[in-house]
Symmetry: C2
Subunit: 616 residues, 2 copies
């Protein structure tokens, strides 16, 4: 196998060039985040920490992060914010490289609590809550999910009953099923929760649907307030630095002003008012503003995959097996490189998603749902493959894999269960399609033709596949409606097709953004390296979907067989660049722990690897 | 959706009929194992236990298991054994339902230590070591893997140098890379290790290859012996009840008699003697006797999957989502039922494998490799899908999923890395094929035709697929040999094909055994339920391999599209039997822990589920 091509003197190494491409306009803030995360407080914790110790350490990390001022970035300068949410997402992306509990706990506080209050509330809420939140004198949480409800958020049982005489709401948990479940910052640190509850204008009145309320649960000394009952969730599979809890409310009274009233309000006469009169429409309007967390989770899923791939590819490049390095074995390349290609594709896709989020693009919710589901599923697979490649050493707690897998695991469930999110993407796109009068332009037509390594062909193939699948599922639901007893029932019968569609949507976004990044790359060496990886992403995604492509005449059996050969050729081309491609993620080597006992002092890595290049 | 069909009075419920089929002639011993495992010592441990507490508890469980006399079962009655290894495998299958650390720690002691001593040693070793092992006064371990070696066991660095003057061996660890790694029972409890080392007849002599030696590492008080250095592996991703360690030896002297000498010995004149003169052949002969552990791991992988599927299917059948149960959603059925079908197929496949193991069938090694790799990979997927179906509640440590996933994880690595095992299966079968003069009868010919639900068609399809793949990979390796510079190099280039072949081999074994079980089922209701599940296994396996089946003209594009529809129809037929099918695993409900805080007292399960039927 060829060795990595040595760089001529004074030439920027390939990894730095690609790093510059990955970081784009945000090299400075990424550097600042790396400087923070390489301070001693953020270095990997010893294995076997108790839940209490881990929570304490995580609390300290959030405090240190708050003190750095970085969490101010996304908020309005009027309240002490930095006014640059895009920059903040660059910081967020780095946090998961240090520790996912830390990422999630700060996310509960500044994202779920801060951003939802910011998005669903109005000026008076911003003025009251943002300054102490950003000063670190207030910590909050987000109480939406309930024990009995799961993904059926519109059906939450918690009630907020309005009393016009006292201008107040009374919050109650009517049943054990209505307890708020898995709420971050509930067990120890949260003082105020954004609570989602059915708003009723009188005790026995009808609900106006789900609304959000600012509900204090602890006083400044940390004592739980009267009427609030907290149960610690205890040990979890992962994220044990986060203090999750169950919350019940019994006659907890809050002032009218603490209803978050951007989309609905109660007027002087005690009348409910909203610009969006339909309950369900109003609910989805509120919910759609809460997409930031989903984007953050997508990005950190990918950060988890990047950490694991850096560890695994470095390991494989330095591990001798039967006389060559593990990474030289075709089977190891087949196992690792598609995940590397995925991580790159997802990097560029989440860059677009972040742009859309910040620009309030109407597609954000649909795209965030598909991308978050895909990023978290793919990250789990990448981490797991890394663990396997590292063999027994990957099973030690000191290695990155087990910890990452157990943390990233729940990224597939929170901020929206991935199956529910895929159905959401499909439903949104189906609705658009039906609004456009069942867009017949996307009916199956002439198939794209060309070389699988031609970016124009790749883009066309995935775009047309997506639109044909949308056409197909729309038609299938419409055709089945009568027999099933309605469109909704018919859609239930087509869930598998809808789920598959959502992934085709993600594929299309990913290939578009990856080919765009390659096209825009100015350095020829970096462009060639990225092109191979982008090609592997395209070919691998075609392989995974070969049955569909065959059944729908996008490729023939000969082309299908050819994909395997092409993938192997690409693997061989990628091999010499593999270390540079993970080095370009610029993860501080201090954050990638390796089992010490396993790596004897006398076997220093033979090749330049991530661990050898301290980052500025 | 149809409710489970109520059983007419006095009729044996479906679940008990299927349980009888699964247990076959071994209902009594299974019952005995259940009685043991429902004693308080074996019930689920609280979450958040420290490594030390967990190890203590696991040690106590092994002691209790030893005291039960069950570990005597597989050994020769001459030394206090029960002479029934097949019965013992039935017990082993149940252990993983209680706890995998317990399964593994007893497996290290009675299996890796006891069985390897039994298989590689001779009468004098049996007489010396078996009685105290079975009395519980001796605990042992198995020191094969080294830090630097991984899967390359033939290249272990540890040395055993013979000295004829003293009739003894001196054991040494020559380098940090040669330390024994991840050795169970090393950190705390093991007194004697079966150590694999290069046998040399003099310090500077050539190695005679790898041999096994009985090496004491601790005295009766637990003190580590002079010349032995132990390093605790510390916390691991899972199996933290097992005390793994690294071991180094410095001039540790053992008597000549403690070389395990079934395959090679040293004669009166100090001359090395073996009936198998070739080093590599001798090595593989020794290694091939160590297959019991692999079978036990395959069986307990499946036990892990069964536990997770019992929990997940019970959860989904009792969970309301948007007005129906979760298990009524087609997408949930698509996610869960193929894993249930797999678990059944694997149950019947491991029954055959156990028969072969006990009968010393020459195919055992090849089959164990393919089946262990497949069972452990599939179990991880089943457990993970269960975790996802259970949503947030599945992420609590009290639920079965996280613990099982973290334990079963390493089943893919130990007792042979799954990739290495698949290559072993392929290599063994390729060798047979070449010996049979490149069996041209398996060259692609007329394809099987028939109904996908016809067992004869299913068996024929998977058998012919396997033999065509074997033919294909044999031919590919032979054709590529010249260009690659030899058969071995050409085989390296065909690793992906070899790995795919090993799974096709497993598919064939699984479908054969599943259709056989259905055919032999006497009860019509049980037969119908098993038939649907077997059909789903066949259809799902065809779907997973549809690209190959299409490319090789086994099915056409129309049939490929039809598979999805057929799978959905089967899911609908399986739905009413789903609870009975997991109930038939007869896992004591006490062993399937569910997060208590998550299931409020007022939401008792609505349907008969595993948890409601105490087992005799």
């Amino acid at each position: 196998m060829p060795e990595p091509r040595p760089s001529p003197k004074n030439e920027t190494p390939l990894s730095r060039k690609i790093q510059a491409t990955l970081e784009g306009d945000y090299a400075d803030i990424r550097k600042q985040a790396r400087e923070l995360l390489t301070q001693p407080e953020f270095l990997p914790l010893p294995a076997g920490l108790s839940k209490e110790e881990f929570r304490k350490k995580t609390r300290e990390r959030v405090a240190k992060f708050t003190a750095s001022g970085l969490p101010r970035l996304p908020f309005d300068p009027k309240y002490g914010g930095g006014g640059d949410p895009k920059k903040f997402m660059q910081v967020i992306a780095m946090l998961g490289h240090a520790d996912m509990s830390f990422f999630v706990k700060q996310g509960v506080n500044f994202g779920l609590f801060g951003m939802s209050m910011y998005a669903l509330g109005t000026d008076k809420h911003h003025a009251k809550y943002l300054p102490p939140l950003l000063d670190g004198t207030l910590q909050g949480g987000f109480a939406m999910t309930e024990v009995g409800g799961g993904s059926d958020v519109q059906g939450v049982k918690t009630e907020a009953v309005y009393d016009h005489a006292t201008r107040s709401f009374t919050i109650n948990t009517p049943s054990a099923e209505g307890r708020k479940a898995f709420i971050g910052n509930a067990a120890n640190d949260g003082e105020v929760m954004v609570v989602f509850a059915q708003l009723k204008m009188s005790k026995d009145g009808e609900t106006q649907g789900v609304h959000a309320f600012m509900v204090p649960i602890r006083d400044k000394t940390g004592k739980v307030l009267p009427g609030v009952a907290i149960e610690d969730c205890g040990d979890k599979v992962g994220l044990n630095g986060v203090d999750n809890g169950y919350i019940s409310f019994k006659n907890v009274r809050i002032p009218q002003a603490d209803m978050l009233d951007r989309f609905a309000t109660i007027d002087e006469n005690g009348q409910y008012q909203s610009d969006t009169p339909k309950k369900t429409a109003r609910f989805f309007k509120m919910i759609s503003t809460l997409v930031t967390g989903r984007v953050a989770v997508a990005i950190n899923s990918m950060s988890g995959a990047k950490s694991a791939l850096t560890a695994a590819i470095t390991h494989a490049a330095n591990r001798d097996v039967f006389g060559k390095t593990l990474l030289d074995l075709p089977s190891a390349q087949t196992r690792l490189f598609p995940h590397l290609a995925n991580a790159y594709a997802m990097h560029f896709a989440t860059r677009l998603l972040t742009d859309k989020l910040v620009a309030n693009d109407p597609d954000t919710e649909t795209m965030a749902a598909a991308i978050k589901a895909r990023a978290s599923d793919d990250a789990m697979r990448a981490i797991d493959e890394g663990r396997l490649i590292a063999g027994g050493s990957g099973y030690m707690s000191e290695a990155v894999y087990g910890r990452l897998r157990n943390d990233v695991d729940v990224f597939r469930t929170f901020e929206g269960d991935n199956t529910v999110l895929r159905l959401l993407t499909a439903r949104n796109r189906l609705t658009d399609n039906l609004k456009n009068n069942f867009n017949l332009s996307s009916a199956p037509g002439k198939k794209p033709e060309g070389d699988v390594l031609d970016p124009a062909y790749q883009e066309k193939l995935f775009a047309q596949r997506e639109s044909e699948m949308l056409y197909g599922v729309t038609k299938k639901i419409a055709d089945g409606a009568q027999a099933a007893g309605g469109l909704a029932q018919s859609a239930d019968n087509c869930q598998d097709d809808m789920i598959a569609y959502a992934d085709a949507y993600a594929d299309r976004v990913m290939i578009e953004q990856f080919t765009k990044a390659v096209r825009e790359e100015k350095d020829p060496q970096a462009r060639a390296a990225l092109k191979d990886l982008c090609d592997l992403f395209a070919v691998n995604t075609m392989q995974k979907n070969a049955v569909w492509l065959l059944e729908n005449n996008f490729i023939n059996l000969h082309q299908s067989a050819q994909l395997r050969e092409t993938a192997q050729q690409l693997n061989r081309k990628i091999r010499p660049n593999a270390l540079a491609l993970v080095d370009a993620f610029a993860i501080p080597p201090q954050l990638i722990s390796v089992p010490k006992a396993y790596v004897p002092a006398n076997t220093a890595p033979k090749k330049a690897a991530n661990g050898n290049t301290p980052r500025p």
